[in-house]
Subunit: 437 residues, 2 copies
């Protein structure tokens, strides 16, 4: 059986790409630091001390998720997932893998009036269900969408129906979303208290939407467990892909000024995964003036958009290309037609052959231009693969943050913006007088 995923960092090294790569010495310091951090965390992780990943080893909580999905699927053609940031991005990443979803899962992650209007106009509102997700239960965007859409559904179908058509995922305790759930008898699935939003993809937050979209959620967890075990089993930093990845990232930042980290999967279905990673890395590592900026890209699309800059612009990035086995997959170009068109090199090739050639060509081209590139390969983009990738990047992110002396689990700066928005609204409500009366 092939490994669940593999990592190859040779394209980050000076002996492969020249002076812009890492020397053995430059990497060695970071390897040592990464191993120290990993060694200190390892036993704790193995004993469940990082619940965001060790929850993958559970299975007794999946029945509740499947039951909720089955109930919603019975009553709904469309389910809107109302949540922002970590309450949405992991679920979006997973749902992108559902080829023929039994339920149309939509994400309402922005209080944009135009988006809400289009959503309502594009669905049979009498067959819409809601999954409302907020860890704290007080997220302004989620609350506003919930407090406008739930009453609209109740107006149409009566108060009792909302209980059948909705689910709330929230921490235990008294909070606004919890109160709304209690008011209308909406079933609640508990958001684990010890798992932060951006680390919640393997909980019900990710898995309930995934189940609605038709994914095999046990396979997601199984892939996650396999990646976790691979990392935990490593006897040196070279055998712990997450720790080695963290070491390479920080060594490239420190010795080569690679202050941006581009994640570029060669699979449309992983485009939302790259945006999930973007939040994970940015909020976990970007603080106190530290951090690198994550950038999501997509192969082969961004060869025609960003590759010029990547190859020939400033030398300030590292690249992670996520590849899959594509040869022979997809529709085949007729040799006669390709020859007629004057594109003989495409004769007999499939779409997958082309995409496979492009992912190899991009890696080669980055190396030839002295741009550090690592490759992460999965056999095929499926449930197990995305579970594994999520665990890899959660472990890598936490390792990198601790190497920098940064707390990977807080996000102190965003509260400033939230408070400013809240004040503006409170002042507007006050000055408007009658509106809020």
């Amino acid at each position: 059986m092939p490994e669940i995923y593999t990592q190859n960092i040779s394209g980050c090294m000076a002996d492969m790409i020249g002076d812009d790569g890492l020397t053995g010495d430059a990497l060695e310091m970071a390897r040592t630091a990464a191993w120290d951090v990993w060694s200190a965390m390892r036993a704790d992780i193995a004993e469940g001390g990082f619940p965001a990943v060790s929850i993958a080893q559970q299975s007794d909580d999946l029945a509740a998720v499947r039951d909720a999905a089955a109930r919603l699927s019975t009553h709904c053609d469309t389910v809107a997932v109302i949540g922002v940031g970590g309450s949405s991005l992991g679920a979006e990443a997973l749902c992108a893998l559902g080829p023929t979803p039994p339920v149309d899962v939509r994400f309402l992650n922005n209080p944009d009036p135009e988006t809400v209007a289009r959503f309502k106009a594009s669905v049979d509102f009498a067959r819409v269900g809601l999954v409302m997700v907020s860890k704290s239960g007080g997220t302004a965007e989620t609350l506003t969408l919930a407090m406008t859409l739930m009453p609209a559904l109740i107006d149409m179908r009566g108060g009792d129906a909302v209980a059948d058509y909705s689910v709330v995922i929230v921490e235990p305790g008294d909070n606004p979303i919890g109160r709304l759930a209690a008011r209308w008898g909406v079933p609640v699935i508990e958001h684990p208290v010890d798992i932060g939003g951006r680390y919640s993809a393997l909980t019900a937050v990710g898995l309930l939407p995934a189940a609605l979209a038709g994914l095999d959620i046990a396979a997601v967890r199984a892939g996650a467990v396999e990646a976790l075990e691979t990392n935990l089993a490593g006897k040196s930093v070279d055998d712990v892909p997450a720790a080695l990845g963290a070491a390479v990232s920080l060594a490239l930042l420190q010795s080569q000024g690679a202050r941006m980290s581009v994640l570029m999967p060669y699979a449309d279905a992983l485009a939302p995964f790259a945006r999930w990673y973007r939040q994970l890395w940015a909020e976990s590592v970007g603080k106190n003036g530290f951090g690198t900026t994550p950038i999501d890209a997509l192969g082969s699309v961004d060869q025609h958009s960003q590759l010029q800059l990547y190859l020939d612009g400033p030398r300030d990035k590292m690249f992670t290309i996520v590849t899959q086995q594509l040869d022979g997959r997809g529709d085949r170009v007729s040799p006669e037609l390709a020859t007629f068109a004057g594109a003989a090199y495409l004769a007999g090739q499939t779409t997958g052959d082309l995409l496979a050639a492009e992912q190899e060509a991009t890696i080669e081209s980055l190396c030839a231009h002295g741009r550090p590139v690592r490759r992460i390969e999965v056999p095929r983009v499926d449930e197990a693969a995305i579970g594994a990738l999520m665990v890899h990047f959660m472990l890598e992110t936490v390792t990198a943050a601790f190497m920098l002396g940064i707390d990977p689990f807080d996000q102190p700066a965003v509260d400033d913006g939230k408070e400013r928005a809240r004040q503006r609204l409170a002042e507007a409500a006050g000055s408007a007088g009658g509106v809020a009366a």
Copy 2:
């Protein structure tokens, strides 16, 4: 009547945001350089020397676009636009504004076998039309998708039907896509020879998909013309928003190390526009080791993903927030419900009120953290606004490139990757022997 768009750079200045902003002196040098470049280009642009923008002043070419759209709309429920990079991103940006499209316009911009399979499974293939776009006529991804999908359509409906169901947009002359069009009698709209792919949004490349999606394409052009005239009318750099924007960008790069440029509209419908900008800027300015890295973001979504990094990470970015007038738009939260939930600050507020408060709060928060931010405001995100924004950013990009001594119209480095992919395929075809025979 309000202006078509306004730009406010005060949040980039030291007297507003402190030491991380520009001093008057630092901006003055860039202003002078921008004015020199602009003055040299201005007369030429006014006389049609920058056809990507001056094409907006034409209207005689719109009838052919409308005719093609009408023909496809009659025969098709779904139209797949096959094109990559500049042959896709402008059209995607425009189509995002179509709220209730008469035809379901899809973009096939990647030879991903899984995507193609899902596309076929999700449509009535007998009612699918194709718009195939490649300036050179030789783009490998476009060719491969065209050479697999066109034969499939012909198998189903017979050879004559393709002429009714398809359009090709390509430069004149002998090239692979042109040969395929000739073979099956597919109508061709000429891609202007003097407009590069990433500058083609205001040509048929952008406007045919837009017309299919139900947009008022004359209004797109009218907004573009208004923005062009605004810029051409300026008597000093302060009255030429595109030149001033270029000056601020480069001054922030040079004096403050702002090597990333984040474009963050507060409108879901502008998310694809930000990706269009990302190509425009990256391919035009990112060469010879120069350039800044464009990053697309989305308000309010990325407040819950990237804002922590933006406020508290390294000081290496400038921000452009695109705002619109949102107050009072959208569904309103019942005061009674908000009070019951314990979120009185949302009482009587609409979704638009919340989004409006958030866009202001983000700008304030960036300023308070000393992060340079400019604001570009449109009255409302509509056809005229996006036409205007496209002209603004095309003019700004070209001005910035010339200030750096860079040719904004080539992309020399991407050919390396293309050649490598082509060689791999040719070798594979050779070694496979019989496959291509």
